[in-house]
């Protein structure tokens, strides 16, 4: 060797390799720089040994359906979670449950620095999948029939489904020995939006973690033309449209209800509930003709501007009495007019006994300033009623609870609707699992995709 040290030639940059299929001569590109174990000829469906310079044929498969077309063509690059990936492999797999075959697609993505990643697609639902670095911890089925759960990075994943996944179509290259017809036992555990899967082959178990993605995100990532296929049904780890935690909604609701109760109690204590008039009058049809209206004694409303409750009691039975009231300020002459009907009917028919109306009536007149007042009363009554004694009570400053009831319902309704929506969604999700919810009745309008 010469004395002078020859310059070291740097090894050539690895580059994608172009080869030809030994069977049909079609061009084959190896994109993952020697990591491929097998590569599939796109034109004659030969599975070739990518490690062999002559690309020995490992398997040839017939594809019966011509509709197996990847949404993302091989060789497409896209940015996923900040890293560029190239689609280098594609496979279609299926499971058979109760005689029905469900197929899904898997895309193999590659980056020479970050390695491999997967995308799965089923009925328009996508998942971004990578291999677990941490080992998930399996927990026994402590709920009978739930099928156990798995703990991964401190989160509990519920068992969803165990099935036998069969590969029925492959395209492109794979860093493992892929064959059409090979099968693995796949078990999914879900914690939306994530899914933890174990894939069991003869001697090894591979755990992967997937995160739900929307078709739109995939289309944006890989700059695909057109629009993604619409997602059908609810997928096992699809995030619920109810983004807020249902428990927290009910906790907030409980807090509000307590607040309302406290407010009610506070106003109830503050209200004076002062009786200012209690009088019984006699209605007499003959008298009424001569003197249609009369006035009560004067009473005083003291303190702040507040409401006044006027209560009427008339012992009517299959009659009505109508009272035209006017609350009149003695000093200013200002009047608040209102009419009240007291009627009570009862009877008996083919459905049994019935009643309608009440002998008691109450009305609250709001915002009455302090001062001296009297009531002007003009009674009218059922023509068949000759005379009746009725009692009028006036109470100053009463608590009003109606507004609280409205607030309560206004809070309760959205909480109920959100809970119902969350429940319906979870029901649809789990109806596809190994642990379907008990069918209460077929009448629930929630159509669960049985196809």
């Amino acid at each position: 060797m010469s004395a002078g040290t020859p310059p070291l030639s740097t090894p050539p940059k690895p580059q994608a390799k172009a080869l030809n299929c030994p069977k049909c001569g079609a061009a084959i590109t190896l994109r993952c720089f020697g990591q491929a174990e097998t590569v599939v000829c796109g034109s004659c469906r030969c599975i070739l040994d990518a490690k062999d310079p002559n690309l020995a044929i490992l398997q040839q498969f017939e594809i019966k359906t011509s509709d197996v077309k990847p949404f993302i063509p091989l060789g497409t690059r896209g940015k996923l979670r900040g890293t560029d990936y190239e689609v280098i492999g594609f496979q279609r797999r299926h499971i058979t449950v109760e005689g029905v075959t469900y197929s899904w697609h898997e895309y193999l993505l590659f980056n020479p620095y970050k390695g491999f990643r997967y995308l799965s697609q089923y009925n328009g639902h996508w998942n971004d999948i990578s291999i677990c670095k941490q080992l998930p911890m399996l927990e026994g089925g402590f709920f009978v029939g739930i099928g156990g759960s798995a703990n991964y990075l401190g989160e509990v994943y519920r068992h969803f489904q165990t099935s036998d996944a069969n590969t029925d179509f492959v395209l492109g290259e794979f860093p493992w020995q892929v064959r059409v017809g090979e099968h693995a036992v796949v078990t999914d555990y879900v914690h939306p939006p994530r899914v933890l899967s174990s894939e069991k082959l003869d001697k090894e178990v591979t755990w992967s973690i997937g995160e739900y993605m929307y078709g739109r995100e995939i289309w944006d990532s890989f700059k695909l033309p057109g629009s993604p296929p619409e997602a059908i049904g609810v997928y096992e780890n699809q995030p619920s449209p109810v983004t807020t935690n249902v428990t927290s909604i009910w906790l907030a609701f409980a807090a509000f209800a307590i607040f309302l109760l406290a407010l009610m109690a506070g106003f109830d204590m503050r209200a004076k509930k002062e009786p200012v008039l209690h009088e019984t009058y006699l209605y007499n049809r003959t008298d009424a003709k001569s003197e249609p209206s009369f006035v009560s004694d004067v009473f005083e409303l003291t303190g702040r501007t507040s409401n006044v409750e006027v209560k009427t009691y008339a012992p009517v039975g299959n009659h009505w009495i109508y009272l035209n009231y006017a609350l009149i300020n003695q000093d200013s002459g200002q009047a608040w007019d209102f009419g009240r009907e007291v009627s009570y009917y009862y009877g008996y028919d083919s459905d049994g006994s019935w009643t309608e109306g009440k002998q008691h009536d109450s009305v609250v007149v709001p915002s009455i300033p302090p001062g001296h007042y009297y009531l002007r009363i003009e009674p009218e009554a059922d023509p068949s009623l000759p005379s009746i004694a009725y009692t009028v009570d006036v109470i100053h400053d009463v608590p009003v609870f109606g507004i609280y009831a409205i607030a309560f319902v206004a809070l309760l309704v959205p909480a109920l609707l959100i809970s119902l929506r969350a429940y319906t969604f979870e029901r649809s999700r789990w109806s596809e699992s190994d642990h379907p919810p008990v069918q209460l009745s077929r009448m629930t309008g929630n159509s669960e995709d049985d196809s």
């Binding site: 720089f33 990591q35 670095k133």
Partner: protein, 210 residues
Amino acid sequence: MTQPVANCPNCGAKIVFRWSSSVQTVCEYCKSILVRTDVDLKKVGQVADLPPDSSSIQINTEGIYRNKSFVVVGRILYEYDQGGWNEWHAMMNDGTSAWLSDAQNEYAVSWSSKAPTLPAAAQVQVGQQFTWNNQRYVVTVITPAHYRGVEGELPFQYWDKTDVTFVDLRSETGKFATLDYSDPEPALYLGEFVEFEDLKLKNLRSFEGW
């Protein structure tokens, strides 16, 4: 860090040791495997050209692990029926050595570790559990591997191997262990999986089109 300089007994090229504890290196020019004796370098073998591989790491790749910088000074390349992987010998800036393994871009850092007793290869089964340093590990894969070659500096003599068995173990906390049955006495390596970004690697290989 001393940098002993010697000449290749085979081709005379200058051999520089970047790591003072290196026991073995490979001449960059003639691919002779050289073992350090007290005074001299002795040629013990020859490496055939390494097969093209796709590791993004190479000799001289630098990085940071647990706030310590390191430089890659050597490697052992293995193959098995599902591909190959590299055990890159990394020299930490505190003078210790570690192994950065790259198995299909899954990266792990590990160290040679001691345990009172290690199981014989025949006794190990997938799913079996072991506890070392108060950490529970589960055997995830047993790999009958094939030694493909060495490059650069290594902390021990390692050449001319044929078939070797590796037992990989994982934990629930991202820890990683390997039982290496290259030698009659099993060797234990303990470490953890690492994220590519976290190593802040420099001097990586470049790939055509990336």
